[in-house]
Symmetry: none
Subunit: 402 residues, 2 copies
């Protein structure tokens, strides 16, 4: 339970909350004295919301800690990733629609290229494209070993997810990816005694899998990592009383949303307006919407400053459709920073905007950017506070104590 004092305070109303996450939103100037991508982007709509509402900046995990996508989203949803340890395997499996029940063991899989001696020569199988890897994943789906059942689904390119189901499985296993080339994949090893038979089962499965992959020119080997089981998180409904929906293009984010019990809405298209269109179509079905925009992060990772500016502007241009729905609480933020200058996720605080015209206390800031957010009236605060603040501004919490 993220906040055990919240469920007794929950009260129902028809107000609607939208949490719009621009992945990796926070940035850095490329040169001294410059502006960040968010500050450079022309965002008249976000600036108006910032002027009318209130802004601040969040610490995703802990000060100085650079988060991965999974932990960063869990924090935004109020589940402290240092308290709730959720393996990447469970996230990936959930993200491609594989069920992970308690006792199942999920992992992330990579195709790799092995030479004739079984040494890894490419850890990502030449970044084999998705259309090429799909038939290879189909082959893997036929690989079974006695005593357990194994399910495999494609993630993207050289990546897949795997779930093993059966009696007495234990997920305390070490990654088999050695992280370097010129050596063979590691055997799956148990990190505690109870997991030894599960390690052996995964190693048997890998052996069988290698047989069906033997003729593949690139994807003739496999590594597994992020072994995990269902973390058994309290659902969004139980934790916050919210009937919640996820609108996201990428499986990973659907996976995290699913782990906290959100409904995943299927839709066509990849652009911000496609996502906001989907939101509009389902507006009456939910009281909480998590909308995830991926490409701000991708541009950050690519070091593409103009590209990141452009993505932010495209979200701003699509915003009026969302605003026409008259959300009671709209939060626009990121899960972490991904400065183009660093070409990677970073620990820097994340711009945060909360607009709730009935209940917000406007501050004196009138634009949405890192500099303004560091002066906003919400201050610098843990991302964990996001949902409690949203619930409060939607007047979904009664008074604590008389």
């Amino acid at each position: 339970m993220p906040f055990d004092y919240i469920p007794p305070l929950l009260t129902h109303n028809n107000k609607k909350i939208v949490l719009c996450v621009l992945d990796g939103l926070g940035g850095l100037p490329m040169i001294m004295g410059g502006k960040t991508a968010l500050e450079t982007a022309k965002t008249p709509n976000m600036n108006r919301l910032a002027k009318e509402g209130m802004i601040g900046q969040t610490i995703p995990i802990r000060p100085g800690i650079t988060p991965g996508s999974g932990p960063a989203h869990l924090a935004l949803f109020g589940y402290d990733p240092l308290q709730f340890d959720i393996g990447r395997g469970a996230l990936s499996a959930a993200g491609v629609g594989l069920k992970v029940n308690q006792g199942d063991v999920a992992a992330r899989g990579n195709f790799c290229t092995l030479d004739k001696d079984g040494m890894i020569i490419d850890r990502r199988a030449g970044r084999i494209p998705s259309n090429e890897s799909l038939p290879i994943v189909k082959k893997l789906q036929g690989v079974q070993i006695p005593g357990v059942t194994v399910e495999v689904e494609q993630v993207k390119e050289y990546r897949f997810a795997i779930v093993m189901r059966g009696p007495n499985l234990d997920h305390h296993l070490e990654d088999s990816d050695p992280q370097v080339t010129g050596v063979p994949p590691l055997p799956v090893k148990a990190t505690r005694k109870e997991a030894e038979s599960t390690a052996s089962l995964f190693n048997q499965w890998i052996l069988e899998a290698k047989k069906v992959l033997a003729d593949e020119p690139k994807a003739n080997g496999i590594t597994l990592r992020g072994f995990a089981t269902d973390p058994g998180l309290t659902s969004f409904k139980d934790a916050y009383g919210l009937h919640a929906a996820c609108i996201a293009v990428y499986p990973m984010y659907r996976g995290v949303a699913k782990l906290v019990g959100m409904d995943i809405i299927q839709f066509e298209g990849e652009k911000p307006q496609d996502e906001f269109n989907t939101l509009a179509q389902h507006w009456n079905d939910y009281d909480f919407f998590f909308v995830h925009i991926k490409k701000t992060d991708s541009m950050g990772e690519d070091g593409n400053f103009d590209g990141k500016v452009h993505i932010i502007e495209s979200v701003d241009q699509a915003l009026p459709e969302l605003l026409n729905l008259k959300p009671d609480v709209l939060i626009i933020t990121g899960d972490h920073s991904t400065p183009c200058k660093l070409r990677s996720h970073s620990w820097h605080p994340v711009p945060f905007l909360l607009w709730a015209p009935e209940t917000h206390r406007p501050d004196e800031q009138d634009e949405f950017g890192e500099g303004a957010c560091s002066h906003g009236s919400l201050g610098t605060f843990p991302a964990l506070n996001t949902i409690p603040l949203a619930l409060a501004h939607a007047e979904k919490l009664i008074k604590y104590g008389a």
Copy 2:
């Protein structure tokens, strides 16, 4: 113990601390672009203190949580209400001078009006005025049952406090107020086995009480709620080394102050200057004064913006008398926000002013208001930090470690 690292650091001096709480001080603008009540009020004295001293804003309980008065004051006094669970019955009883020892069971009582079939037709007995209810409370004081002693005191109007003393009592009891009319009061029920005999004793007492109230036209019934025993809080003296006094008009606030071991000063009058006069008279007797101004909150709950402005101005006008005493540390803040716009307590951060001319570090803010406080050098911080900050600025804490 609120902060176990503080007692070993305490050192005695003659410096005096005043904590002046304007209940429900924080607010919201009534219209977009407007000002809050505090920002609207003409407060030349508070503005001077803000200019000379330092300001910030507090989170009363946790982000997004709207506090009741009891928890909000406990937080200001450094007792985390999520850690120290204190029933309202114990607060009310303490507030009217009834001792609540460990093992005693206290509750809040309401007179109600019952029809001839015993159904509640008015849960507050027509809000019977205090002068009419006093003789009825006297009647109740005569109602006793075998095996225990029962004490009753008037709170105000239709409300009273009750304490039962005797062997093997247990306060795990449910409210008997059904919260609706047209039904009879509920029997007092135990929420655990050990409390069943106590439930039975309260039901016996209510039965006897109904006999003596039978002829009352309005107050012929009783409901009880908020059953609690002494929470056994560490006293202010032990926690902070402070000889502390409470100057408050309303019983509730005296009650909380008493629970943490403050002396309650009796005085005539209800106005800020009456409270500051009382402070002046007892200036040499204590080193910590908690002064509570109630009506800012009442005006907020009534949605009376001009009224709230007026109360804040009346406090400001009375401040010179307090300042003439030359307090070493003066804190002016609220326990929570009560925006006139919402007509209720809220979760919004609370303006906070700390003036300690010998030790404060002045910031660049020069007025006392929500906007300025969100930019103050104290930042946004838990209300729990209030007393440690006061002790520090009064130089009552030695260095931690060498």
